[in-house]
């Protein structure tokens, strides 16, 4: 399979990135702290006050390495990328299907089957690993509800609104028992319900940050295969929103993001001291916590799994790219449906 390349995350405030021969040099206070060969990285992500030389920008564009600028908290600001990749026929087909309610719904349906199946798998895993610790009954009930939703989705075609209804219900069922998945540091990491913008507790703060990282990866993957990340099937067009990236992200949320957040808490890789609350009740991560999350996210992306549809080994970090490619191939009518990523 395609080689999974690292993302270079730069979180040191005041860092300056420059081209140095065939490498990216990271300078902090005029001292070179790190030098990375360009061919080993797939992308550079800069958090906060990090700047970049124009020569490096040109060099990265030429090598197909994207550079993204995010705020310290991970909100997307801008991105530097070479020429638009891919094929206008593919994008037109994407728009045509997005305009056709029935066609859009058939892709959205596959994505939601995968999302809810993956959510259920997270719950099932917990029931298997901690049968005594958890409120077995509630979690099992939630899992059963999701099975019903999956069957409903599998059986027949639905209108988009119906699909959104099923998805909304499953999400509230899932997050309704999510607190049970937290098996350590219980008093510090309580979860009531999903909230965001801003997150009001530490768990939501972690979830939001990891979703942002995932969003960034999925968006890049869509761009690389030549799809327009703004035009979705389940998520309809709204200026400034990456509808297709949000669509494709759904199937990865439980598998990649939620499990990562849970293991960070359950294995005590983060702790309560690494967060602070603002007057408004908004919860922020301290630098050290953010670094720990990034390291864990990177480490998880390096892991290899067998892709359930292709039956080939891929790194987890390549999954967004593989799914984007499969979606593009389906849109170009190579595959008779969109095969979403399902974890088991």
């Amino acid at each position: 399979m395609k080689q999974h390349l690292n993302t270079l995350f730069v979180t040191t405030q005041g860092a300056y990135l420059a081209k140095d021969g065939e490498t990216v040099a990271v300078r902090v206070e005029k001292e070179i702290k790190l030098r990375v060969p360009i061919h080993t990285i797939g992308g550079i992500v800069c958090f906060g006050q990090v700047s970049c030389s124009p020569f490096l920008m040109g060099f990265c564009a030429e090598k197909g390495v994207s550079i993204s600028f995010l705020t310290e908290n991970g909100r997307f600001l801008a991105k530097i990328q070479g020429p638009v990749s891919g094929n206008v026929l593919l994008r037109r087909e994407q728009y045509r299907r997005a305009d056709d309610e029935e066609a859009a719904a058939s892709i959205a349906r596959m994505i939601l089957v995968a999302k809810i199946t993956n959510c259920r798998a997270v719950l099932q895993r917990l029931l298997r690993d901690h049968p005594t610790k958890v409120a077995v009954k509630a979690v099992a009930q939630a899992s059963n509800k999701m099975t019903t939703a999956i069957e409903k989705l599998r059986e027949s075609a639905h209108m988009l609104d119906t699909l959104r209804g099923i998805e909304g219900e499953s999400a509230s069922t899932y997050f309704g028992v999510f607190d049970n998945l937290i098996t350590a540091q219980k008093s510090d990491f309580m979860f009531d319900k999903r909230n965001r913008r801003p997150p009001l507790d530490k768990v939501n703060c972690l979830l939001s940050f990891v979703y942002t990282l995932l969003m960034h990866d999925v968006r890049s993957a869509l761009e690389v295969v030549g799809l327009d990340p703004a035009v979705g099937f389940l998520h309809r067009d709204r200026p400034g929103r990456y509808g297709l990236a949000l669509d494709l992200m759904e199937e990865f949320r439980p598998y990649l993001a939620d499990r990562l957040v849970l293991s960070l808490i359950n294995l005590s890789q983060v702790n309560a001291k690494g967060f602070s609350a603002k007057e408004s009740g908004a919860v922020w991560m301290e630098d050290e916590t953010r670094k720990a999350v990034l390291v864990a996210y990177q480490a998880r992306k390096q892991k290899e799994i067998v892709h359930p549809f292709l039956k080939e080994k891929v790194t987890i970090g390549l999954l967004p790219w593989v799914q984007a490619l499969l979606l593009a191939r389906h849109l170009r009518r190579d595959i008779d449906g969109y095969p979403p990523f399902i974890w088991r």
């Binding site: 026929l89 593919l90 596959m110 089957v113 599998r154 549809f309």
Partner: protein
């Protein structure tokens, strides 16, 4: 990287000479590169790139009775082709110059005629541009470091014309032929973008993956 972006808007109907050998190798590969605009830089293509950079770096030189021109732009209105020849050798003869195209290939001679078709297409472009006739050329293979002489006979010319017509039809259709998995897929640099083994089993896949154990 196939240089199809540099084709002028006005020259849209001209297709790349290199697309002919891609088509002979695999029509789907040709469509993936030129229609889908997918191109995967891998070790093979990267090496090819380096080899071509060497060829492209000088523009001409002379060796005794042979003059060499590198990276020569080519075009044929008749075949609807545009491209570039790696090396054109001009051999001095008693009454002028013999024109002799040489195409550099990374690997070794292939069992199919794809490289010969590409070379013949180059020759046919030169014939049209220069108003001459060219009898033969050569393929130089990096792996064997051997030159293979190719005569532009009637069969090869007919083969080249047919291939050019088929590529025009393929690219004009905007369609990408379905994948057919075969032994050559293993060595194809596009295999990961092509995913030739996937097919019509999405419903079965969903069914199997959503079932509870």
């Amino acid at each position: 990287m196939p240089d199809c972006n540099s084709i002028d808007e006005a020259d849209r109907e001209l297709i790349a000479v290199s697309s002919l050998s891609q088509y002979s190798y695999c029509p789907r590969r040709c469509a993936l590169i030129f229609t889908e605009q997918l191109w995967d830089e891998n070790i093979f293509t990267a090496r090819g790139q380096i080899m071509h950079e060497k060829v492209d770096s000088a523009d001409h030189e002379s060796r005794g009775n042979v003059r060499l021109e590198y990276a020569v732009p080519l075009r044929s209105i008749k075949l609807g082709l545009i491209g570039r020849a790696d090396v054109i050798e001009f051999h001095k003869t008693e009454d002028g110059w013999d024109v002799f195209p040489v195409e550099h290939k990374l690997g070794k001679p292939k069992p199919d005629s794809s490289d010969k078709v590409q070379l013949c297409a180059q020759a046919m472009c030169l014939e049209e541009m220069m108003g001459i006739s060219i009898e033969s050329g050569a393929l130089f293979y990096g792996r064997t470091r051997r030159r293979l002489d190719v005569a532009f006979d009637r069969d090869l010319r007919a083969d080249t014309e047919t291939t050019a017509r088929l590529v025009h039809e393929l690219l004009a259709s905007g369609l990408t032929p379905k994948a057919e998995y075969s032994a050559k897929c293993k060595n194809c640099s596009m295999v990961e973008l092509c995913v030739p083994k996937t097919g019509k089993h999405v419903a079965n896949y969903i069914e199997a993956m959503t079932r509870l154990e």
